[in-house]
Symmetry: C2
Amino acid sequence: MTYANQLILDGNAVADSIKARLETRIASLAERGITPCLATVLVGDDPASATYVRMKGNACRRLGIASIRVELPAGTTTEELIGALRKLNEDASVHGILLQHPVPHGIDERAAFEAIDIRKDVDGVTTLGFAQNAFGFADFPSCTPAAIMAILDYYELPIRGRHAVVIGRSPILGKPVSAMLLNADATVTTCHSRTEDLPAIVRLADIVVAAVGRPNFVRGDWIKPGAVVLDAGYNPGNVGDVGYEACARHASAITPVPAGVGPVTIATLLKHTVDAAEKLGA
Amino acid sequence: MTYANQLILDGNAVADSIKARLETRIASLAERGITPCLATVLVGDDPASATYVRMKGNACRRLGIASIRVELPAGTTTEELIGALRKLNEDASVHGILLQHPVPHGIDERAAFEAIDIRKDVDGVTTLGFAQNAFGFADFPSCTPAAIMAILDYYELPIRGRHAVVIGRSPILGKPVSAMLLNADATVTTCHSRTEDLPAIVRLADIVVAAVGRPNFVRGDWIKPGAVVLDAGYNPGNVGDVGYEACARHASAITPVPAGVGPVTIATLLKHTVDAAEKLGA
């Protein structure tokens, strides 16, 4: 069954609507002498990570948000990274801190995340931030999960009572997006590498979120006709976790890659930085 | 289809095995001059809550664990309750703090939970404790979810790859048990009052956890033949959330009420109190 009036969920449109609502807020902050500032921290020389960090800095600049780029060599120790994060915590001109992940092997990523002041944890990576999100009162849910929710909201796709199947259980993606969908009254199934008969479970879903990090992992015949498909994957070569052509044949609405979840994630990061600047007020 | 060799999951046997392993640890602490001590805090005069608190105190006494009972009147304010909890945080003779919930209306339960020092949060009610559990490194997961996992472990019931359906999404039961089953490699579906066609979803489950707080809510024809059924409900009149007779006909293993999850929850609380005493060491 092919959907005739199929909806391509345009991430750029969602991102533009988020950014448009930030403009007056950034102008109000400017009147108070405050420029929202995002600090990005990049460890090592992974080219993809460097690209993401550059994209985030560019997005800040276009909107009048300042950004600071901290770049640390691949051999950085956990202690050194934590020291750099603490300096950013203490820097009153910095409102948001983003540690680009994954960090190189040998660094305790969880310990590094925990070092971020929760008031500046604009990507929701701290343990406490995760729980606040799971309980529905976080200031800053992780950006990609929040972006997925923003897309559903923008396109007025119903969540309450729907069965959402999330493929992936990472602390910054699968787990928090499962929690957010649950708090929005979806029935939520979280799947992962140990799930038996994954296709059968995905076929139950009204909403599919792919967050596996494997290119074209989700196949067309896994998609229940009319399901909404959100692809949080971003693999080398601009390829998502969803086999787009095949899945688009069955879905009633689907995010492309690129120009799906990605730009909304960046817009969410900018929004959180402005939120943090307003709260910290300095 | 009826299961001939059906297993009644005997909570008292599981509780006894947990308590038996505590005895030498309590003796070692005694040699160091340390008596593990649980403080229970009861607000108001709900008779069921008073009974639970008394049961917990009695269980402590039988094992050589000290207990302190703090009883506050129904009109206690959030600030007064927080003040009482802070005193227990500072009291070096107290190793574990249990705030009996639900607290009366008018008290901010979440704020009260947060006031408990995480090192003494033996029921895993703090936001941070929840997240540590969701990420798999909590010292003290909430006692009832931990009890459910202990029962599965004691009876060597497999979890990995199985489909677990949790009915309920409370911060101290449905959400943490979902997280623990997920971390044990189950595929986990969390259901709640907004779930559409709940019976059809429960019928998918290899493992059913009922945590709704409604007597005899789960019906026999919801249970897939051979499923494992765990009843975390404890309603007035010693009635669980599972219609026991009807569900037992289909389940391969099932917890009764009483003498199912309840005694294991208390044993887990005692274990956490001993864990805390060893860690705090005073």
